[in-house]
């Protein structure tokens, strides 16, 4: 099977045992010391707001505020020791009659329940709910879609109510079109997605759905987030879990884990030899980790353990101009030129060639016969352009 084909096998989601300790990223460390007004030993309960935007996902005591280097940068983090018993914060309230309530109030309730929804909901005309995993080989969204027909139907109604969107589109893979008709009938449109990466990426789905002028803003959320929202309102459960596919030589396992669980806890049954790669995210877009002392955050879909024999080593070879990268680029960017300009630090030319719109899907470097590390070059150019204020930050 082609690596880029989306996985559609049925893999049960298993509850992962409660961890002994968790780590929550508080904010990105920008070089300035900022005191976090929380003392060691403070007791936190599940769903309690620690600072605005940060909700404790366990019941336990604070064991320290530290700095931690994530693959995407340095963060100030909070270490919490977990108590055995789970206690729910009184601030998280259920609202079973949600369809009759004011959307602004619901949004406030949802954000108290750790949903972290964007506040710019009013401009959105179209909402896409995706039941397709953006990257292979994870199988979370499709599995959740299979397991929760009823809740998803309620969720679609809820999201339509909160955003006031004219269109709600349910994106599903071809295999699930029958189920989708049953679930979305009368509420949402159905969009069948080709079961091959990159058709599953949010931007590509959105491009296929809206007209060419692209003036509308499009909201995007996954089935998992939709389910969390429904459960938060219906049953008053804060969003403290994340479903993660763990992929290794042993195959694919789906775990429902507490947000903040450390990778070493999740990977303790998997033998990891020297020179292996642990990828936080998919093999196409994810970042490789230098340590397993990193927690699972709300936007990690999979952890991919790559054996040293499978690790691909990029070459420092010159571009042969074969055009494979341009051919596979979903946006038809001239990646060969961008890569060369970035290599020789001619960053303003990269901007002229629309490097800004690059989605970093990784297909160019995946197909490059010269083995050039194109995403690295693109990231370098983007970073340089942002620091020189030549490009608007994302």
């Amino acid at each position: 099977m082609n690596q880029l084909t989306l996985n559609n096998t049925e893999i049960e989601i298993i509850d992962f045992p409660e961890p002994k300790e968790i780590i929550l990223p508080v904010r990105r460390y920008d070089g300035k010391e900022k005191a976090l007004k929380i003392k060691d030993g403070t007791r936190l309960v599940t769903g309690e707001q620690i600072i605005p935007g940060l909700v404790s996902t366990v019941t336990g005591t604070v064991a320290g505020v530290e700095g931690l280097a994530f693959p995407d940068g340095d963060y100030t983090v909070l270490r919490i020791e977990v108590e055995g018993k789970d206690e729910l914060s009184e601030h998280v309230k259920s609202e079973p009659e949600y369809l009759k309530k004011d959307p602004a109030k619901l949004l406030r309730l949802l954000n108290q329940a750790n949903l972290k929804l964007s506040s710019k909901l009013s401009d959105i005309k179209t909402v896409i709910v995706s039941a397709v995993d953006p990257d292979p080989p994870a199988v979370i969204q499709q599995q959740l879609f299979r397991e929760n027909e009823e809740l998803i139907r309620e969720g679609l109604e809820l999201i339509k109510h909160i955003t006031g969107a004219e269109r709600v589109v349910l994106a599903v893979s071809g295999e699930q079109s029958d189920l989708a008709k049953k679930v979305a009938g009368g509420i949402a449109e159905i969009k069948l997605i080709k079961s091959k990466y990159p058709h599953s990426l949010p931007e590509i789905i959105a491009n296929d759905i809206v007209d060419s002028d692209h003036s509308d803003q499009i909201g995007f959320l996954s089935i998992e987030k939709l389910l969390s929202a429904v459960l938060a309102l219906k049953e008053g459960l804060p969003a403290v879990y994340k479903t993660v596919s763990i992929i290794s030589k042993n195959g694919v396992v789906n775990y429902k884990v507490r947000i903040g669980t450390l990778l070493k806890e999740l990977l303790k049954d998997i033998p990891i030899a020297d020179n292996a790669k642990i990828i936080l995210g998919s093999p196409l877009r994810g970042d490789s980790c230098y340590t397993t002392d990193i927690p699972v955050t709300g936007d990690v879909d999979m952890i991919y353990v790559q054996d040293s024999s499978e690790v691909y080593r990029f070459q420092n070879q010159q571009c042969i101009n074969c055009g494979s990268c341009v051919e596979v680029c979903p946006l038809d960017l001239p990646v060969n030129l961008i890569g060369r300009y970035a290599e020789f630090s001619i960053f303003d030319k990269c901007r002229d060639l629309d490097i800004e719109s690059c989605l970093e899907c990784g297909l160019c470097a995946y197909h490059c016969p010269a083995g050039r590390s194109l995403i690295q070059l693109i990231r370098l150019a983007k970073k340089e352009l942002t620091t020189q204020n030549l490009m608007t930050a994302e």
Partner: protein, 318 residues
């Protein structure tokens, strides 16, 4: 525990430059064998001299330029083989050696090697030799000393000198199966077609350039033919003779000197096709494929600008 860290993607489709050239050489191998069957050891001589000159000159030039040797990528072997297949079987040693050497030096390495040159190095080598020593490029008479089992006349030469009547007795099926004089491999139309389809299937290059090249030739020759069928040959004759097939599948599609955008490739191919027929009809040379490709190579950077502005929807992750 020691972990490896790198930027994404962490997967690769396992292609590499050597593999790409391996497929190209593999596609040309039947053509080379066919030429040996047709022209005997003369063909084997031209092919082996060209390939060894290409490899040796690339090693020497890269050493002179203080660059690492790059023989393992296969591009020099491919260039040498391709050069041999467009030469006449009678080409003397010195002509093959100087042509290949010039192609590698002036056509390729001076610009920085694979991926950097503006003109197809094989055609550069050929054109330099052809213009310098035109008498040694007589595809037609050159074959006279060999014992061939088919008409040794070069079809395009007949057309140029004698007009349409002289080619009336040449069957298109014979042409398709390689019963024609010309460059060593240029005449093996069916093998070139198979080889070309093989590399397209393997994803070495895309279909746009070959298809639009052929379409451009058919389009232009049909116009000529419709205007005056007594003066101009029919489109199929053009497609099956001279260097059309080898140009369509192996010369115009060269990575470095051809465009990489979809519409750039299509305009590039169409223009070469049209130019080829114009040169065949009105120039002094019987065949115009190589000059048409060289001319269009010049426009490659311009054609690469034919690319639509990327449009992405504004997506807000809820």
């Amino acid at each position: 525990m020691k972990l490896i860290v790198s930027s994404p993607p962490h997967w690769h489709n396992d292609s590499n430059v050597s593999k790409v050239h391996f497929f190209l050489i593999l596609a040309l191998l039947p053509v080379a064998v066919f030429s040996v069957f047709t022209y005997g050891m003369h063909a084997a001589r031209v092919i082996s001299v060209a390939i060894s000159t290409a490899v040796i000159s690339e090693i020497l030039i890269r050493r002179l330029f203080r660059k690492p040797a790059s023989i393992e990528d296969g591009s020099a072997i491919f260039a040498g083989l391709l050069f041999a297949l467009i030469m006449p079987a009678s080409a003397p040693y010195w002509l093959i050696i100087s042509g290949t050497f010039l192609g590698i030096l002036v056509g390729k390495e001076i610009f920085g090697g694979l991926g950097c040159y503006p003109f197809n190095p094989v055609i550069v080598g050929w054109a330099l030799s052809k213009i310098s020593w035109p008498n040694y490029f007589n595809y037609d008479l050159a074959s006279a000393e060999y014992n061939l089992n088919f008409d040794f006349r070069y079809p395009l030469y007949l057309l140029k000198k004698g007009g349409v009547e002289t080619i009336a007795d040449i069957g298109l099926v014979d042409l398709f199966f390689g019963q024609q004089a010309g460059g060593l491999g240029s005449g093996a139309v069916f093998l070139l077609l198979l080889g070309g389809l093989f590399v397209i299937y393997k994803g070495v290059y895309s279909w746009e350039t070959p298809v639009s090249f052929a379409a451009g030739m058919v389009f232009m020759s049909t116009i000529f033919w419709l205007v005056n069928a007594d003066m101009y040959a029919n489109p199929l004759f053009h497609l099956l003779t001279g260097n059309a097939m080898i140009g369509i599948f192996f010369l115009a599609t060269d990575f470095s000197s051809s465009p990489f955008t979809k519409w750039g490739k299509i305009v590039f191919g169409l223009s070469i096709g049209i130019l080829t027929i114009i040169l065949r009809a009105w120039s002094n040379y019987p065949d115009g494929v190589f000059f048409a490709i060289l001319i269009m190579n010049l426009f490659t950077p311009l054609l690469d600008r034919i690319n639509k502005k990327p449009t992405t929807a504004k997506v807000i992750m809820l």
